[in-house]
């Protein structure tokens, strides 16, 4: 029992970090239909900003806020400088640029901060408590709670505010939305700011959760994030959240049960291929989204 609780709590925490990354990706994909690999670079930069600010101030809140701010700015600039001019090109063109930007960001961070992982110990609500017979660190619960709150907030922003509703309309049908007076560029900027801030948040939480960050922590996550938004159905906020959580749980449980079959990273990709073969439009996706 204690073992199960441990695995589930770990799965939820890791899944929450995936969800934080996937939320931003899905906001971008819903509007621009760009596979935004560079999002993982934004996430790494967010983590290192959090690390620096925490080192300077010692404040977890300032650290988190700065990560979100720097990531938001970076994501915003990537869109303005690189994606906007390429929207009428074949789809693989912005994708290539995105991958290249990811390489550039990863390497720059590695060159500035060193190739090796850095210890990043945030002193915030980190103690062991008993939970259903298991010893669980409160950090895991905090990570879960913060991402859940951020998801609900994002969901509210995208469904309950005028800007969000306009954004949904634009994601469904850009042309009609435009004739209805929706200002698409404004919405794209909004989605990039919001989505990238969430990546920064996830970067901070990664450091907070593992106590360590590395320039290459975005590596597999960049592509797993894509898997998550496919699982959740492209463009859906709740889908991305659930996709992330489910992936975290599946990975954790499968690795605990069958450690010798495949590395944990493999399950995301197996799940993806299996899913696409049986439900080519995602678990929650609709036909029109493809």
């Amino acid at each position: 029992m204690a073992e199960i609780v441990l695995q589930v709590v770990d799965g939820l925490a890791i899944g929450s970090i995936y969800a934080g990354i996937a939320l931003g990706l899905t906001l971008v994909y819903g509007l621009l239909r760009i596979l935004h690999i560079a999002h993982a670079g934004v996430y790494v930069v967010g983590a290192y900003t959090a690390y620096m600010v925490y080192g300077a101030t010692g404040s977890p809140l300032a650290s988190m806020a700065s990560a979100m701010a720097s990531s938001a700015l970076l994501g915003f600039l990537i869109n303005r400088l690189f994606y906007k001019p390429l929207l009428d090109q074949p789809r693989y063109v912005p994708l290539m640029v995105s991958i290249a930007l990811f390489i550039i960001m990863e390497e720059l961070v590695a060159n500035v901060f060193g190739h090796y992982p850095k210890g990043f110990h945030v002193d915030f609500l980190s103690r062991d408590i008993g939970l259903a017979g298991a010893t669980v660190n409160t950090r895991k619960i905090v990570v879960f709670a913060i991402v859940l709150a951020a998801t609900l907030l994002t969901w509210a922003l995208t469904t309950k505010t005028r800007l969000g509703v306009a954004s949904q309309a634009a994601a469904q049908d850009a042309e009609t939305a435009m004739t209805l007076g929706v200002r698409i560029p404004l919405i794209i900027d909004f989605n990039f700011l919001l989505g990238s801030a969430l990546a920064g948040l996830a970067g901070f939480l990664y450091g907070y959760y593992y106590g360590v960050i590395s320039p290459f922590m975005g590596g597999v996550v960049a592509y797993k994030g894509l898997v998550v938004i496919v699982l959740g159905g492209f463009g859906s906020v709740m889908g991305a959240y659930l996709g992330g959580i489910i992936l975290g749980l599946v990975e954790q449980v499968m690795t605990a049960l069958y450690p010798d079959i495949l590395p944990r990273e493999a399950y995301a990709f197996i799940a993806l291929i299996a899913l696409l073969l049986f439900r080519p439009y995602g678990i929650f996706g609709r036909r029109e989204m493809a």
């Binding site: 690189f82 390429l86 074949p90 789809r91 693989y92 290539m96 991958i99 390489i103 990709f269 291929i273």
Partner: protein
């Protein structure tokens, strides 16, 4: 005067990656099927040939043939998958394929696990072992054969069918093209090129390990294809040359080499999204104008240029 070893190594690598990029051109450039996992097919070819030759002692020629075949078969399976998926889903699936292949190599001992497979033999002809310049010639010989095959495809009905599938599937089926079969074929043929390239690299280096086929290599191969022009045969080889040589050019920049590689991709894609030798590309038009000036311009234009 002997050519320095270093140049021979570079030339061999240009040949090997030229084969890989050419295969990608067929799948992606001609038939429009996104493949972001070409390195996975290199891995399948390399592992097949390495296991057959280093572990089972079969001749290298047989190993390379088996590499081509195994990649072809797996490519056909990916092609079957591609029938069900469009653009972005297919892109993500091919990425997933690449990751999975590498994880399997890493986790299973047949593929040498995390230690890899060493002592992979070099090919020999009549007791003479091909290494250095002679291996380079073998590589370029195989590249030449595969270029001939590509030319054949380009000028055949298959080439036209590929282009139709890429540009308009409904139109393709309206003229009698079996769209699904063409997708499977395009994937299988492109993958076969990848498999051959993988086997060539295995016998060149003598040692392979799972990490030689990780996703970034797929991006490198795709960069070659796009650089040269996704629809151009010569472009694939030019792209291979540029990407293989650029780390050497960027060598003085030391640890910023990979950054420069990223910058190179961004610059190329921004200013020449159709590649250097692709249709309507600047370099191609200049070249054609020059050739025309010497009376060597492409004369058969009225019969339409091949894809």
């Amino acid at each position: 005067m002997p050519i320095p070893e270093y140049y021979i190594t570079l030339a061999t690598l240009v040949g090997i990656y030229g084969v890989a990029a050419l295969g990608l051109n067929i799948t992606m450039g001609w038939a429009g099927q996104v493949n972001l996992g070409q390195a996975g097919f290199l891995g399948i070819g390399a592992m097949t040939s390495a296991i057959l030759t280093a572990k089972l002692g079969l001749p290298v020629g047989l190993g390379i043939a088996a590499a081509a075949l195994s990649a072809l078969v797996v490519g056909a399976v990916m092609g079957l998958v591609s029938i069900r998926l469009r653009e972005d889903f297919l892109a993500i699936t091919t990425i997933a394929f690449n990751f999975l292949v590498v994880y399997i190599f890493e986790y299973y001992d047949v593929f040498g696990g995390s230690y890899g497979i060493s002592n992979i033999p070099r090919p020999s002809i009549g007791g003479y072992e091909l290494r250095g310049a002679s291996y380079m010639l073998l590589t370029w010989g195989i590249l030449a054969l595969l270029v001939l095959l590509a030319l054949r495809i380009q000028r055949s009905w298959m080439g036209l069918a590929f282009n139709l599938v890429r540009d308009d599937e409904q139109l393709a089926s309206a003229v009698g093209v079996d769209v699904r079969r063409m997708k499977v074929l395009a994937f299988a043929i492109g993958a076969m090129y990848g498999g051959v390239a993988g086997a060539l690299s295995a016998h060149f280096k003598g040692y392979i390990v799972f990490s030689d086929f990780e996703f970034p290599y797929s991006i490198a191969i795709l960069t070659m294809s796009i650089l040269g022009g996704l629809d151009s045969i010569a472009g694939a080889i030019l792209g291979s040359f540029i990407v293989v040589v650029s780390p050497e050019v960027f060598r003085p920049l030391m640890q910023y080499r990979r950054v420069m590689y990223g910058v190179l991709i961004v610059v190329v894609v921004f200013f020449a999204p159709r590649g250097l030798l692709g249709k309507n590309a600047v370099a191609r038009r200049l070249l054609e104008r020059m050739l025309a000036g010497y009376g060597l311009g492409p004369g058969g234009k009225k019969k339409g240029e091949g894809g």
